[in-house]
Amino acid sequence: MRIWSSSLFRAKMFPKVKSPLFYINAFFEEMGEVGLLTFKTFKNLFKKPWEKGIFIQQLEEVGVRSLPVVSLTAAFGGLVFGLQTYIGFHRYIGAGSETYGGPIISLGLSKELIPILVGLMVTGRVGSAMAAEIGTMKITEQIDALFSLGADPIRYLVVPRTIACFVMLPFLTIYGDLIGIAAGFFYNVYLMGVNRVLYLRNILLYMELWDVFSGLIKASIFGLIIALIGCWQGLKTEGGAEGVGRATTRTVVIASILILIVNFFLSKALPADIGS
């Protein structure tokens, strides 16, 4: 018998196409699950006992241990942004105008690029680890054991991770802003010979505190997305090692896409400045 005529081969190669209604139903079901988890997390925020030990451990995991990867991405983001703005000003405006690259680099980095880069890096590093850790706990009955020993899994696992991400993402972002802006400054001033005083003066002249602050607001919201998606995927893990792998992959994909979508809407919703 030819292999492709076997029912197994056909089932693998041509899986039964499900109706659009199935996917719409599944989408709303998953939205409901995330919504319920978010509600339960907020409900448990102020309930005792607070898991201080886990919270501090998560602050270190999300914040301190993400510093190397944020340093690298922010530095190279700042360098390449500096390179392109230098080329842009030099080619289209003319020699001497490159000093205006300073505020553009600083604004672009602090409002958009750094919060997004930090969000995506933390998703890959921390969100996936949350899904894998909680997913492994789920399939080895450790979540059931938590419950049987008097610990609410939401309060013990989800709340400390969510607060840690909410708090640490802005800190990572402000750190990334400094590294990125310094990298842009380094490229323009030390490598391309742009006037240092004018470059800095233009940054101080055109940049507002709100530009940095709006990036921090975005970062906090990205933090919530990363933690809630990672924990949600971890808690619904089924099917052994394969299930854990699927949960981590889905966490990275869903959280990354959500960050990019939410970023656009936040950029639209947050005011460009808060008045002079």
């Binding site: 706990m137 009955e141 059931d144 419950f147 020993l149 008097g150």
Partner: protein
């Protein structure tokens, strides 16, 4: 102590429990036997409040736990200590932290008192000076014993065992059986044991019930079960491939 009344549970089209009724009396050891995948662990999870039934009631000391919210349930789970099938020790915590986990949440003992109770309970299961070890450093038998020490640390009224002898060699399995008998005597607790190991069931049980096709089809003392006229029970306890049991 525990009374399960007409318990039904399905997962999609899979009807796992189809009207389970059972009663665990004070200081009794009740063993539920049945094939792998017949719903024994699902039954145990309903008794712990980890799963909600489609219909039916689970009473613990007269309280119907199927209608309680999580906070109210935790007051009831204080009465239970559970040894999980794969032990479910927390990977990220040391043995000492695992055993003290329930104590820290269910009691307001001082740190020193908790450390003392941890040492005592580890000694009860024959383990000493291993508080600092991580679970991955332990053998299968040691993990089971740490799991038991964790389950009994806060003096529960009822101890639940999910396949206590699975995954360990016959000698260690027998040692676990001895521990189960000793725990009952020392702690004066009721015990509900889920297993398919008949050697273990005969040794520790006051009564044995058989779960088959989502129902308890036979309940009696070990002797009554041994002499049961039910061909399904006879096939299972004798471990024969031929017989009325389908879908094995």
């Amino acid at each position: 102590m525990i009374r399960v009344v007409d318990l039904y549970k399905s997962f999609g089209d899979n009807k796992v429990l189809q009207g389970v009724n059972l009663h665990l009396k004070e200081r009794e050891t009740l063993v539920i036997i049945g094939q792998s995948g017949c719903g024994k662990s699902v039954l145990l999870k309903h008794i712990m409040g980890l799963l909600k039934p489609d219909s039916g009631k689970v009473y613990v000391d007269g309280v119907d736990i199927t209608v309680l919210d999580d906070d109210e349930l935790h007051k009831i789970t204080r009465k239970f200590g559970m040894l999980f099938q794969g032990t479910a020790l927390f990977d990220s915590l040391t043995v000492g932290q695992n055993v003290s986990f329930g104590l820290e949440r269910y009691t307001d003992y001082s740190k020193e008192k908790i450390e003392e109770i941890v040492r005592e309970n580890l000694a009860k299961v024959g383990l000493r000076k291993i508080e600092h070890l991580m679970p991955f450093e332990l053998s299968g038998g040691m993990r089971k014993r740490v799991g038991l020490a964790r389950a009994i640390a806060y003096n529960p009224d009822i101890i639940l065992y999910d396949e206590p002898s699975t995954g360990i060699d016959p000698i260690r399995a027998d040692a676990i059986n001895d521990l189960i008998i000793r725990m009952k005597k020392e702690m004066n607790a009721g015990e509900l044991i889920i297993t398919h190991d008949m050697v273990s069931a005969y040794k520790v049980a006051d009564r044995i019930g058989m779960l088959y096709k989502g129902k308890i089809i036979e309940m009696g003392t070990p002797e009554e079960i041994r002499n049961s006229k039910n061909p399904v029970v006879q096939q299972f306890i004798r471990g024969r491939a031929e017989g009325p049991i389908e879908n094995w």
